[in-house]
Assembly symmetry: C2
């Protein structure tokens, strides 16, 4: 069995589950750090293991362009290439291609685009992105979808939904009739779209459920819409999606957004926030986020989070981290990333335990104001 729903909290939609892949099992809800170009930025594979990362995300668009499929195929796939032995989910590349705006042209069969690196011309179709992900060898593959920008007109989203459904059907047929390129199994997720129009979201979910995918993503959110819309669309989608299949809320997000997603029955998350914000000097803790470059931390001897057992917090002061950022030292990027990844993994482990204990909603109510705030004061030790 690919996904096992272990427990749904009494009185909420929050779920604890288990994903079983040939690269190991994944306890859900889970956060997947983003490894765009064959590495989670500033982390080695052993760093990820130490932070108890269960599964990472790779970006098909970037990997397809660089190093390219021949290199990754010759090295035996993305797992051996980057020496990550745990599960990998790859996106379809569609989101990146649609972000290219002037460099891409959409038609009913796929999307033609020019590389942002060298302007070379390429084309993604439902079939080609499946083939690419077969070569990458990800454990979980995503279908090509069309993600309408926010805001979009209702008529545009209706047409977009039609394309997303058509492409999902094509991808599913190819998925069902092809074998993995390597010796391990691969699963395919469809992506619910529909913008912020309730009935279009519901329609998209129903369309895709009919195609019977191993898992479902909720896409097209966290693209600029109000948070209330994001939560509402998530809620609508998980109300319809089959409880026996994993649900993945794409590109979300801040710690508080993740807890809101879990409360609405989401099992999987990914986002660049913990890694990107780390490199900008923002660290997350159970008591809020902290801009470590701030002058107030100049002589602060305390750890980022005195209760956090990560390597960064066990060893280094805020003053030292601040210095590393001010001096543009790579070690600052590394230590902040390491802590943020540890924190996200910790947060989702805690969430899961509280779901199993039927105390998630209470715990979330306590956590939300804490993790949403910004730490301004310095600590005297």
């Amino acid at each position: 069995m690919f996904f096992e729903l272990i427990h749904t909290e009494n009185g909420s939609k929050a779920r604890a589950g288990l994903l079983e892949t040939d690269h190991g099992s994944v306890q859900t809800p889970v956060f997947m750090p983003v490894g765009t170009q064959g590495t989670v930025k500033a982390m080695s594979p052993r760093d990820l293991q130490e932070q108890k990362v269960q599964i990472i995300l790779g970006n098909t668009y970037h990997l397809y362009l660089r190093p390219g499929l021949p290199v990754i195929r010759d090295l035996g796939g993305l797992h051996p290439f980057m020496q990550w032995s745990g599960p990998i989910l790859t996106d379809s590349g569609g989101y990146q291609v649609f972000s290219l705006q002037d460099l891409r042209k959409l038609d009913d069969q796929g999307v033609s685009f020019q590389s942002h690196l060298d302007g070379s011309r390429h084309r993604f179709t439902p079939e080609s992105v499946l083939h690419i992900q077969r070569i990458l060898g990800s454990d979980i593959m995503m279908v090509l979808d069309e993600c309408p920008p926010y805001p979009s007109e209702r008529d545009y989203v209706i047409q977009s939904n039609r394309l997303t459904r058509q492409w999902a059907a094509e991808a599913k047929a190819i998925y069902d009739s092809t074998e993995p390129y390597y010796a391990h199994r691969q699963w395919l997720f469809a992506i619910v779209q529909g913008g912020v129009f309730s009935e279009l979201r519901q329609q998209s979910a129903r369309d895709l459920i009919d195609l019977d995918f191993p898992g479902y993503a909720i896409g097209g959110l966290s693209v600029g819409e109000p948070k209330s819309d994001m939560y509402a669309m998530t809620d609508l989608s998980t109300d319809i999606l089959p409880p026996s299949k994993p649900r993945y809320l794409m590109g979300v997000g801040m710690p508080e957004d993740i807890l809101e997603g879990i409360a609405r029955g989401v099992d999987m998350f990914d986002c660049v926030i913990p890694t990107r914000n780390a490199r900008n000097g923002t660290v997350f803790t159970a008591n809020g986020k902290m801009v470590i470059k701030a002058g107030r931390f100049k002589q602060d001897e305390a750890a980022v989070d005195a209760l956090c057992p990560c390597y960064t917090c066990r060893n280094f002061s805020r003053a030292y981290l601040r210095h590393l950022f001010n001096a543009n030292e790579i070690l600052g990027l590394h230590l902040a990333t390491l802590h943020n990844i540890y924190f996200y993994q910790w947060l989702l482990r805690e969430a899961r335990q509280h779901i199993l204990d039927d105390s998630f909603i209470l715990w979330k109510a306590d956590m939300m104001p804490r993790i949403s705030q910004t730490i301004e004061e310095i600590t005297t030790v």
Copy 2:
């Protein structure tokens, strides 16, 4: 005893020794990675330990300006600030200040300069740099010296030698009459100058020997002079310096330069080459150096050095490293730095063992052509 000369090779000047500091002992000959701003670039302290680094170098000029002495003093000194528990040597800051050219003004009592960061005005004297290094808490401190540029006129170097001697005498008097700021002992090294003029080198060495320092550096080399001059000046200096004191060849260098230095009786080395070149994509091996970004490594499945047991070589292909550099990923800088530091530490451990076995000169003759070459071919595994 601070330094113990354990063995000098039969038939050469190569020495194996032991430095004893309150932060641990150091087997010499030793290479000290450079930690300019309170971190060896792209390395955490545990990375350095894993690479068997025994002692690191810190730059007084940079640390004095940023984060500044109040921060480092409040955090308990450079060791706890950067969480490096092994020995640290700090330079005097003089070399960086003299490199500022238009931003500094030399007089007989010291040097006034403007910060390269914000233009603020500062002054280093023999006394102040000793005081700064007391606050940094380095195990080995360096005197302020004047390093003549290459080329310099003989008359200039004569005047420069006079200043270097005068400042060394002042520093030694202050060193002898002050106590460490923290609970561990600190040693002070003088710096032999004299440009590439044999008798001025010899005179400088004799001047400083009279002042009876715990150790002696050979400075003002590797600043653009021919290698033959560098080797000759090193040879002259070690012929005169007392065998019972450690000798430190500052700012050297390439693996082959280090072996030449060891052959001439040098015990300690530092240089940015292993770390800086790593960040430029050059890795060193026992069979030569390799520009990992080169296209020929695009699909090369082999490790940088198949016989190297470092984390990088145990796990990653040249193809992956090349990809990381092409994609500007931080992990590339980290993995290349890690390997280069491991290689330098390995090279000096091997050198020491061969000295103890009286086989250093033979081993060096075998190694020199190998480490000096550039690896062009790819390996098929």
